[in-house]
Amino acid sequence: MSRRLSGRRVIYIVYAAIVSIAALMGFILGTINPEGMDPTLFFVVDLPATPVGMVIFGVSTIGLGLGALLLLVAYVADRYDDAELS
């Protein structure tokens, strides 16, 4: 009950879990390789429709998208947080 964890650590774990789910989805879709799957990372880099290519696609898009959100959280929390623990 009294054991407390750092909030950042918990959020990093959640972030890693969600990015891992994206990686897993990429791996499964890459393995199945359905017809017409043609991954283009950030509309620029063509990736092969293989398990590795799809993992890179999933991890990059979700990791960067949520990573940007996390950076914003860190920025705002450091500068505008008026409820800091004393």
């Binding site: 964890l5 918990v10 199945i32 959100l69 996390l70 947080d81």
Partner: protein
Amino acid sequence: MGDMASGQIAITVLMGLLLVVVAALLTRIENWRSYAPTAGASSLTGEETSYGHSEKPGGITRWLTTVDHKDIGILYGAFALVAFAVGGIMVVLMRTELMWAGEDIMSASLYNSLLTSHGITMLFLFGTPIIAAFGNYFVPLLIGADDMAFPRINAIAFWLLPPGALLIWGGFLIPGMEAAQTSWTMYTPLSAEQPMIGADLMILGLHLTGVSATMGAINFIATIFTERDEEVTWANLDIFSWTMLTQSGLILFAFPLLGSALVMLLLDRNVGTTFFATEGGGAILWQHLFWFFGHPEVYILVLPPMGLISYIIPRFSGRKLFGFKFVVYSTLAIGVLSFGVWAHHMFSTGIDPRLQVSFMAVSLAIAIPSAVKTFNWITTMWNGKIRLTTPMLFSIGFVANFIIGGVTGVFLATIPVDYLLHDTYYVVGHFHYVIMGAIAFAVFAGIYYWFPIYTGKMYQKALGKWHFWLTMIGTNLTFFGMLILGYLGMPRRYATYNLVSVGPIDLFTILHQSATIGAFILLIGQLVFVWNVVSSWLYGRRVADGDPWDLKDDALYSREFRWHERRMNDDLVLADGGASDDGSEES
């Protein structure tokens, strides 16, 4: 003729007498549970039995006649959890059928009936009522009201639900009758032409639950506007009450429309009107009316759970909610925008492309206030010191699952992707991530967080954590599999997939089996939950502390626990919400 009439009168009188006798007997069954050997720690009365109830009748009569907001909250909660069990068993049967590609353990028509009933049960008999349970019990406590504004209307609203449920489940309960097979969306012309009476009963039952929700919403609005304690201003109204208020506003605009559309559908089915017939308003009219209700319904279901999460996360992060005002504004923004997105369910019907684009724009826009909330939850945790109690675990699970449900939803809101994925398992996976992964998680968080207040006991913590992890793993296994199935083109709402030609059956079988295993894990988790709640309530350790979560350490002690502490100290139960003479706080 005369004999027959007098015979009927005699039977009527006899039946009336019988009812009076039964009612009289019920009034004499006082506190029946307390005769058990463990009398001291017993009773599902929702209050501590060591306190007197001089103002309330005993036994079952109390529950049949109560107008106390807390008792009605308990009734709503018990009803909703029974419905959750029924809806859950239905889906376990369906998932078992989907273990194999063919028609194995049930007929396709029974599958269709279960599918219809599962959706309606979970949304209307579990989702809305469990939120009403929290609202009824806690909103008056949080705003310092004596009770709800209209206690009797409150009781009536609840008592419309059981007959509504019986009608909705009537097709299963009445021998020889077939249950509706329309799916929860009841699209015409299918729903107008399906001959079974079970469909009529279901529509009538839905209508009753809609009336119930509307009465409840009027009550919440009146209560929050007029019954607040002097110290509770709009500025320091707690976040859960804000979301209940917004949700009630949505109900007020959405549910009466559903009621009207349902009556029109009933008339089309039984009287030969042509509201939704091709020569009348057309089948698309139903979709417009239904989704004008149906999409706000999504937010009716998600806003108060978001309120719960916004309320609980700060308490186990040791700090106030970050950006409280923005969370309130985003709630209001979602409330307004939710009425402008309904046609994104109808992109594939061929409606005007200009309309499609405008609905896509609003649908994408509604992601912004949702993201604002997520942002605030994460920021609240960021600098916090987190205690991983069961309610907090479910809250963090909510955030994680809501991100997955939300991101998959953003893709669906774009027209080209929707064309591709419409009516596939991707849609099912997406909305279940929100409904099960988020809404139900918040409900569990609320149940555990306030467990000490409404039971006077503490739940078993190890079992609570088992419940969380089984539910988290089960949810992700089930609905992750569905996202992939949908991406591969597996259409939804089918009992079999041996004739599906869009993908390899072996692969579909493996993915369906993993989803089914996930559903079984979920089932085990919920059995743990039921065991935990029932056994802790009956035999659990009595909470001796008015601050079971040590909220005072972080200056986050709130009105409902203050009320709880006062009640414990007073040695008699207040029949009302309790006038507060001490300070309130926000968030």
